[in-house]
Amino acid sequence: MHIPDGYLGPATYGTMYAVTLPFWAAASWKLNRTLKAKQAPFLAIGAAFSFVIMMFNIPIIGGTTGHATGATLIAVLIGPWAALIAVSVALIIQAILFGDGGITAIGANCFNMAVAGVFAGYGVYRVVAGAAGVQSARRWLGAAVGAYVSLNLSALLTAVQLGIQPLLEHTPDGQPLYSPFPLSIAVPAVALEHLFLFGFVEAAVTALVIRYFQKNDPEMLG
């Protein structure tokens, strides 16, 4: 789901930077007003978790691989605004140091996995968990459903951004300039593998960690 350099044309990657920047600004503004210094280690661990969980490539036999992002889990534990920044930092380090995701695509990848992924997952979690107590099953169930929705939304957004390239960017004789696969190929290829496999892995990881905190460290879910 890390779009590399060269797959998105300037119109798309420029737009995605422009769309994501206000969210980074809003998150900074929000955190500047609410964050306490003692939370810093937890935010650092949240970002580190997102980085390392994305190193676990999950295979489809004889096919492609995918991975969890941890967006929903991190949002539940440190709040959505902090999670937005944490996942973004992981994605930016992956792009700069490891070439995992393009530099031009940082705006797009951060929007898909950090902005949309975090808010979709956290929103679903809040709706399902409601006012349920820390030990309630609705907490981990909500987080699991949120995680499933979150990863699938991130995947769908990625697929659509890739799939519109042949329409947006082509030579006068119709040859694609950037990602050459049309929506009819990109969307099923990316969406189905997340709907049937990777989304469930994201949900399971999220539910297991929330269950761990419910048993051993309920203050984390306070």
């Binding site: 580190a48 390392v52 999950i58």
Partner: protein, 117 residues
Amino acid sequence: MSTVRRLWIAIGILALLSPLGVIVPKWLGAGGAWGEWGTDEIRTIMGYVPAGMKRLADRWKAPLPDYALPGQSSGLLGESLGYVLAGVIGIAFTAGAMYILTKLLTRKDRTDRSDRT
């Protein structure tokens, strides 16, 4: 043991296990992620490399491409060790950057005031 220390141990265990994220896909014959192919693979799939893609694809030279260390030995052990070390480097940069960002965003005077109330 403090929660922070336990969570860091968990991150460390994940880093040590991370080569599974490369070894298992290889065993099961799975390639990379869909739509993350390099220009060579695109040429194999499409028969050509789109002009704009060719122009942008390799403009940025990442210091540790594909989570591999320069000069790591080939084979399962060397590649796994390289992946773990790349992971540790990435975790250190990510956590460090996030920690510094958080510190910049927390204004001390404000924190002190809210802690007292």
